[in-house]
Symmetry: D2
Subunit: 354 residues, 4 copies
């Protein structure tokens, strides 16, 4: 029986195992005053709209929604045309982790492209061109990319721009699944200009802007950077079950998170904890890593016999069973002590195993 | 220019214009501790499951979701069979006020039955029997009733039981849209036994259990009273975008609301305010009412010229334009003073108009 | 036991109980020569395209499909926008007789309007205007009218034009379900100009052009009169299972039917048989009629005790059980002798009953 | 300029470029007598039902439909459960060549498995087991295999049985896309017992039984070998636009094709022509083949410069652009002279090219 230090509970399971930032909780408390019209006709929602225009420019149209799957489905359902397909990486959350929600809501094919790092390449889009105009094939209609990706990588602004150029040239629209857009923004410089560089400046049409993993109790936003595509958005939001009635409480959370770039500061911290975890474990015998983390997750491979006991000690998720790969993820509230304790436990356990 | 008393802002617009009960807010604050696994693998959600079993019996299976439309869509999508229709009253929220969400998610017809009071009658179901077995018609598959109804009426337990008997005899399942199930429970006696009398004891298969209008920040539950129908429920919840990630925050709200029957006490108050409003306005010249309220809404008809100025003074919603009918609705936090002030304003305005 | 003349088998059940016109059969035989590319890249299909342009003008785009439900679904799926509803009469085939196919394929609400004669009125559309722009309601998007209607009535060209004007003013598109467009054309003058008067000249956007009931073995066409709406049509056709592979055989049938206005001549005969049947039975005691037939169906009401025995003698369909109303329908091949024999049988039976 | 022999027009484009067998045409002619009830209530359809029971056993339930995509969609829609996925090879017609029809009609994910020969392997299904029970993933619900496959290969009965065993063990149902089931039956012995060996005896639940490519004008059948799964089938058929009204004409075609095993004899001929084509071209310089054909198609790779001129001479389809691979396909009516002439043209052209 190996003796391990006390585990920081669920600390590296996922960024949605974390709670909410205190200022977000405080915003909920403060918004709980009197009656305000439901469904977005309130002052908090108006403020959130202004804050998203501050981020993305004066024509951006934002729609607050419940959750990430909902944000993705609403985005795609609003911009897809009949008989089109959504194109994405084989690792995309919309393809793998949403129980077929896009297929159900859109009635459309989700077409996956192979990828070793979670990114789509322009030449992969070009290779779909032979489908275009052929009545026997679902027509490539919307490119959906994830930033930061499901594999913890980050597209450069130039990579996103090249994808947008190719997609638009092929008649496609571009959706960015930004469940962890804060982490990507932090990784690319931690400024509003960084955010813009890989979104509105790169040509992205619509963004799922993640709030929950960034520190909210719950809430996401769909932001149309191409407002010409937003004309059906408010109806689609309701139709896909994503219209919050007491919307002030979602808006107030976002207003707190977006205030003074708190969302970027929290993501910078989360990313730094990811790096700290990598540095603290990279040289442990029995672990191997593909690359240093760009955001808040590391994906070590380790002996399959070690995985279950370590999970029982301090739970984390399997990632790729074929490679004995797991995922350790930090959050806005991960402490250096959590990281160090966890790394120490792993080190002790693997040393004893060998 | 008519001089009116200061208006209680939006006080009678809707029960979702109200905020959340302080104990619900407090529960959110208290749940915000440390990391807990997402998607329902947390202690708060386990407690909520136990609370729903306390309400509905030991085999009831509950699933927490975001909102009312989502709860309805998830319920229906879980229990409907291929090529079936959902049958409901012509006033049903699912038919009128959900932007076609059921049709989109289910790919099924929503078949409406005429109703003067928001209720469906067993003989209306029997009249659909000639569709059964005919390949040219969508097959009546799920009866959806609303309790309390969209018109502020309440089914007696016997009425629900008779509908369930008829529906089951025809091979249909029964869904109860309980966005205001608290108000109905309060109206029928204000006890758990009252709740059971028109749900599990009457034969209802699945319930959308409303939390938001009852005093939450946001959250509903789908409760399968017939657990044999729940086998696909958890997958369907995710597929229709209704799986909250930081679910502890939804669960904690429900745990506060369900504690010590708070939800019933709040609904009793809301209903009492509806009655107070009716009593305070029923004799005003220029108003007419179909009936005394059974729950927390009154539906006066008044001169169309009076509607807009009164809405500008203290906003409320139009209901049935063909009858110049509007809706005044109370909430868990409506005060007697709100009611009296509003009634006084209406009285003054209509007296001056005439 | 009443002695009745030998019944003409199923002669008045429906126009789809008839077989195909000999020249249609002959066209199939003649098209069965050698190899031709599938899916419409053949000379027969090219000819059919030209024939539809002759009917509707040089910009009309036609797409051959299998059946009426398919034609309707393809038409609607091509022109509807996200979160819109299809609006039609409560008697519309798409609403009542297609087992929910539109809801399944479109994921959209089919919104029915009350009607005593199967027709929609412009003021009914105008009354939907209050839905427009309200995020809680499916948006009226496509008006679908049936010509001739399911109740055997015929819109005048002015009536269709007024509906199209109103619909277009409200931002809607207009679909015409022409399962019996031949009968309507015959009723309105029996010329190509008559056809145009209530379709392209009236402002209809897309037509389901019926072939099967007009004398084909099987085949319908979707014709876009507004070609700007057709850009997704070929993909949608395949996606809703309506792309025939050996399309030459559908095209050849249409080429025979459209040759020398055969389709109009057959419909004129069918309509004349409807009138003959009405004249031969209108004065029979025990039958009552709402109106003289405009096309090829009559809808008598008669004693419920008489319906089943008469159906056993010579099958026909019930229509409206609430009124003891049935439907007798003639076809392109109904003979005067069929009509007279049937009328005589009905007369004898009802005389004996009374 | 290379001189080539006169080309047999489109002779090797596809088996759906062929016409219909004369006895099929004759059956249409003979069925065109008098009135018969529509939608399957006719004697021809009753006979077809009996013929399918002769093929598959006394409990098989058959449903005649229009086309292959429709047959597949109807099969899948009838047997899938909510939130399930369809699993198939990456080459499956349902995944690649149906414009997303399954996703639209089912609202379900089509999950593809890599395959070099068009076949799925049991261990690939077993590898999906980790999805089962996880609410974040579409649940593997229906395995769809194609026999003969899109790559011209044929599953052995044992292979199908092993797949069915694995699928059933995992709680899945099994669909067989038999657009070319005749060719597979011919390849496996050319008897009814051969047909049964890889369908009902192997445990397949539902079959799309191809008629069009086997020699019909147009028509397919969905045959439930597991009749317990057929209870919703007739409604689903109508709902997915696949209910022919003058069904006698589809039934009569099948009755001719199934008479005296004509369908097997035609497929044996077609397969033999495929083999003849392979033998006549396998040694031509400039062509390479993966394998000898098992049914009626060969898939040569050749110099990309040669493909277009040869297509202009005698059209055939590209198959896999990445490998410069094309498809040559024979049909029920391909003659030895067609084959020899085509092979000679290819030989002359490639000899001149080199």
């Amino acid at each position: 029986m190996i003796e391990l230090p006390p585990a920081p509970a669920c600390a590296f399971a996922s960024d949605n195992a974390a709670g909410a930032h205190p200022s977000v909780i405080d915003a909920i408390v403060r918004a709980n005053v009197g009656h305000q019209l439901a469904y977005g006709s309130d002052a908090h929602t108006a403020e959130a709209g202004a804050r998203f225009r501050d981020l993305f420019g004066p024509t951006a149209e934002s729609f607050l929604v419940w959750n990430g799957t909902g944000a993705n489905v609403m985005s795609l359902a609003t911009v897809i045309h009949p008989a089109e397909a959504v194109v994405c990486s084989e690792w995309a959350h919309i393809a793998v982790d949403e129980t077929g929600a896009p297929e159900r809501a859109l009635g459309a094919k989700v077409m996956t492209l192979p990828s070793v790092d979670g990114k789509v390449r322009p030449e992969q889009l070009d290779a779909l061109a032979h489908f275009i105009g052929d009545q026997h094939h679902a027509q490539p209609g919307v490119l959906s990319i994830t930033q930061s990706t499901e594999l913890g990588t980050v597209y450069t602004p130039d990579e996103v721009a090249a994808l947008c150029d190719t997609a638009h040239r092929l008649g496609m629209r571009v959706h960015l699944d930004g469940a962890r857009i804060a982490n990507a923004t932090a990784a690319l410089g931690g400024t509003i200009q960084a955010l813009r560089s890989f979104t509105v400046d790169a040509g992205v049409d619509v963004v799922s802007f993640g709030g929950t993993k960034a520190g909210l109790v719950g809430g996401e936003a769909v932001v149309f950077l191409n407002p010409a595509l937003a004309s059906r958005a408010k109806y689609v939001r309701k139709q896909v079950n994503q219209l919050p009635s007491k919307m002030r409480f979602i808006a107030a959370q976002f207003n707190a998170l977006l205030h003074d770039d708190l969302w970027i500061r929290l993501a910078e911290h989360s990313n730094a904890m990811g790096t700290r975890l990598y540095e603290a474990t990279r040289s442990i015998d029995g672990l191997s890593f593909d690359a240093a983390p760009q955001v808040n997750s590391v994906f070590p491979c380790l002996s399959p016999e070690a995985i279950v006991p370590l999970q029982e000690w301090c739970f984390f998720w399997n990632w790729n069973a074929a490679r004995d790969q797991v995922r350790w993820m930090t959050a806005w509230d991960t402490t250096p002590a959590d990281v160090d304790r966890f790394a120490e436990g792993v080190r002790i356990f693997l040393a004893e195993c060998n």
